[in-house]
């Protein structure tokens, strides 16, 4: 059969499209839940109205986003069975458990308390209502943890045995699956990257308003919160990325060799900044390199040996039999670079912003501004940026809202495609994982349907986001400032319209 239309290729495309799309909403959901909860906590503690307005504004964008995250997540739960039935049969004993935990523990939590939060403004006392958004936040983090533990098992299977009679992997140590270093590092990396994403989203939108001198008080608070989140999130993403990278060198040397287009093992190994490779001949035609850096990234030692693609390929051929064990090298190489490049650019923009908009007490008198004024961007100790540079910084700050989304998309494309031809590393190959009973026509149908539907919904969603971003934070009403004291709502409100209704 034509390889481009082989069921495996189609099923992989569908998984790639639906998963990358789903993951555009996931990091924003995780981080915006916590950031909204933080803002609402500030409102409950200080009773400053700007915090409540910020909560309502970011909360709305969060809800527009999570709606998409929830519905595209349903597909993920069933797709394994639909397109990857042989995979499901082989791994279900191990892989199914974290998925079931995710649904039973995290999804219920998230979706029940989100309903309480959306509709609860006039039904729940202030503090209980606040607790609901924190519950949602905990739910999103638990959900990430379970699904990443499942994915980590695909990267590095542990705690199982092979049952030859049944032809499947069977769980022997669930605790190990949940706590192996791959899982912990992946969770650490994904969560910190999620906060980088949410922080950048906040920075970008706050910058959009501040450059127009609109909604200054709320947006200034949001900008600072976003910048701090970007810097802390970005820094920890880099640290966790380094940890995860070192683990990957141990567990999947091929993925990391491909990430560096390092064809043959070197001691010390250089870090590649730019390369044009020739996959057929197994070498690079053009390469710009930093000597020794890769050795350090892999093993904390500038002179250590790092195996290359050709070495690992040979080793795997000896271990698993004849075959080509190389992933798509250009995708792995460039995916790795786009991930780091876009993520760290966002981090740099945040770091610059945090310095440029530093607090009053660090500024000379003439550069300080009132609470309702747009801050000066102060680069040197006593001098603000000129109008042109100021304008450019705000422009770049607006752009940064998309960068971490690009970075995390490439991060997933890199780590999943870098594992090929394995679906479970060293254990089960992707070509053996597809559903034998599902026809080519069925897979094409579902791929076309999902892609079309997702494209339409993307347009709808982005337009809505733009509308509500432009509208800015809402003015508060009497009801907003007088939340109920009883669960279920105060009787004085019995015949009033609901605070929120569909």
């Amino acid at each position: 059969m034509d390889l481009a239309l082989a069921p495996e290729t189609l099923a992989r495309w569908q998984f790639g499209i639906t998963t990358v799309y789903h993951f555009l909403f996931v990091p924003l959901t995780i981080s915006l839940a916590a950031l909204t909860a933080g803002l609402q906590t500030a409102w409950v503690r200080t009773e400053k109205e700007k915090y409540l307005r910020a909560t309502k504004f970011w909360g709305k964008l969060f809800l527009i986003n999570i709606a998409m995250g929830v519905v595209t997540g349903i597909v993920q739960e069933f797709q394994f069975g639909m397109n990857w039935s042989d995979y499901s049969r082989f791994v279900g004993d191990v892989f199914g458990a974290p998925l079931a935990f995710e649904a039973l523990i995290a999804f219920f939590f998230e979706s029940t308390f989100i309903g309480l939060w959306i509709f609860g403004w006039d039904k729940l006392p202030k503090k209980i209502h606040l607790a609901c958004i924190w519950m949602v936040s905990i739910g999103t983090i638990l959900s990430a943890y379970f699904i990443l533990a499942a994915n980590s098992w695909m990267q590095h299977p542990v705690g199982y045995r092979i049952n030859e009679a049944k032809g499947r992997a069977e769980l022997t140590d669930f605790w190990l699956v949940l706590t192996q270093n791959t899982a912990l590092a992946q969770v650490f990396h994904t969560l910190t990257a999620a906060f980088l994403t949410g922080g950048a989203f906040m920075v970008g939108i706050a910058a959009f308003h501040l450059v127009r001198k609109k909604h200054v008080s709320v947006m200034k608070t949001s900008l600072r919160l976003g910048l701090v989140t970007v810097v802390i999130g970005g820094l920890l993403t880099a640290v966790s990325g380094d940890v995860l990278g070192k683990i990957m060198y141990q567990q999947q040397p091929m993925k990391m060799a491909a990430a560096e287009a390092l064809w043959d093992g070197e001691k010390p190994a250089p870090f590649s900044v730019f390369a044009v490779g020739d996959v057929d001949k197994g070498h690079n035609k053009v390469a710009i390199e930093i000597p020794g850096l890769l050795s350090f990234l892999a093993k904390d030692d500038f002179s250590s040996y790092v195996p290359g693609i050709n070495d690992v390929n040979k080793a795997e051929q000896e271990k698993y039999g004849p075959g080509d064990y190389r992933p798509n090298i250009p995708v792995a190489y460039w995916g790795f670079r786009w991930m780091i490049g876009f993520g760290m650019t966002s981090f740099a923009i945040g770091l610059a912003g945090l310095w440029l908009t530093r607090k009053k007490f660090m500024l000379p008198q003439h550069l300080r501004v009132g609470d309702d004024e747009v801050p000066h961007l102060v680069l040197l100790p006593k001098k603000a940026l000129g109008p042109t540079l100021t304008k450019w910084y705000w422009r770049i700050a607006i752009l940064t809202l998309g960068f971490p989304l690009i970075a995390s998309s490439w991060g997933w494309i890199f780590t999943e495609m870098g594992r090929q031809p394995w679906v479970v590393y060293g254990l089960f190959q992707t070509r053996d994982a597809v559903s034998p009973g599902v026809s080519q026509a069925e897979v094409i149908t579902s791929m076309v349907v999902f892609t079309t539907l997702y494209a339409i919904l993307a347009v709808v969603e982005v337009k809505l986001l733009v509308k509500y971003v432009k509208a800015g934070p809402p003015e508060l009403t009497e009801a907003d400032l007088n939340p109920p004291t009883k669960i279920g709502g105060d009787s004085r409100d019995a015949d009033k319209p609901m605070a929120f209704s569909y």
Binding site: R89, E102, L464, G489
Partner: protein, 334 residues
């Protein structure tokens, strides 16, 4: 009772939870065309399930995830075999969820009308298709020796399964109608009570035919008990609805769903998906289940999580216990 038998029961419990809860959700979605006369009334209907539909839908994800973990072979055969119907259900659930959240976010007439149409169809189709799916599971499908579905999509549209689809559609609509009677005030409540009798009568006829067919083909003593319980519950629900006892009507329509699902699972046991090609190729609780270790872990998880979930989901219903009417619907877009 071995662990895989326990898990057969737990999977049945999760599906029951799903059909009980999202059953009235779907019903309410269907009623937006059947019962509501104008937009404010439509919005009253949608808002009766507003805070809870998302939590209700997670029962499906739990049933799916738990089937994957406890019966990987069942999960693999079912979802790859019923590929296109499942695709349609997924599309409906996606559109429906987005429709609830986005409908109110723009004031334009077209926007709101389109999402309302989406809510109706995306509630009606899954309500029908789940019945078709379960009809086929109970009836058996062409499963080959590798446990793969060997039939085509048209084989799934047989009379028995289609009747099953009509039963779930009408039963969920009935369940939704009594739910609306319980959760609303004003004129719409009165009309819901009247409509409940008509929908309930249709449901009773369809359900009786389907359950008798099931009992005749595959029934035994225990399924007969469940069948009688299902039919009796439905009749009591109808009587209660007629007497204006809305709480009781809802409880009994819920019990009808419980007993119907129980009957279907009782006729299945110990198979989980019978093969019509060769009884040896049927999926059973033994050959489709996970290892005892996995089942033990899953039992702990479900044993602790499910009661807690029921507790906080129950609390949600208590928080939003007040009836709503058109006076509670604000006109603003938000």
């Amino acid at each position: 009772m071995e662990l895989h038998d326990v898990w057969f029961v737990l999977i049945a419990v999760l599906w029951t939870g799903y059909f009980f809860l999202e059953g009235f959700d779907f019903g309410v979605g269907v009623l937006t065309k059947l019962l509501a006369r104008n937009r404010p009334e439509k919005r009253v209907l949608i808002n009766t399930i507003g805070p809870v539909w998302d939590g209700n839908e997670v029962w499906l994800l739990s049933a799916g995830g738990a089937t994957f973990a406890a019966f990987p072979e069942w999960y693999a055969t079912l979802f790859s075999g019923f590929y296109l119907p499942l695709l349609l259900i997924l599309v409906c659930l996606i559109v429906r969820g987005v429709a609830f959240e986005y409908r109110v976010k723009r004031p334009e007439e077209n926007w709101q009308r389109n999402w309302e149409t989406a809510i109706f169809w995306a509630s009606l189709l899954p309500a029908f298709l789940w019945g078709v799916a379960f009809g086929n599971i109970v009836r058996g499908v062409q499963i080959d020796q590798d446990f793969n579905y060997a039939g085509g999509v048209l084989d799934l549209l047989n009379p028995y399964a289609l009747l099953g689809g009509l039963v779930t559609l009408s039963l969920f609509t009935f369940h939704g109608t009594v739910f609306v009677g319980l959760k609303t005030v004003g004129e719409i409540r009165e009309r819901a009570r009247k409509l409940a009798l008509r929908v309930g009568a249709v449901t009773a006829l369809l359900a009786l035919a389907f359950l008798l067919w099931t009992q005749a083909d595959r029934g035994d003593g225990s399924s007969l008990v469940a069948m009688v319980a299902a039919v009796a519950s439905l009749l009591i629900a109808l009587v209660a609805a007629r007497a204006g006892r809305e709480g009781w009507a809802f409880a009994w329509s819920g019990l009808t769903i419980v007993a119907t699902v129980a009957m279907l699972f009782l006729t299945l046991f110990p198979t989980v998906m019978p093969s019509t090609l060769n009884p040896d190729w049927s999926l059973t609780v033994t050959n489709a289940s996970s290892s005892p270790y996995t089942l033990k872990i899953m039992t702990w998880c479900a044993g602790i999580a499910t009661p807690v979930v029921l507790l906080y989901q129950g609390w949600t219903y208590w928080v939003f216990r007040k009836r709503i009417g058109t006076q509670h619907i604000a006109e603003t877009v938000h």
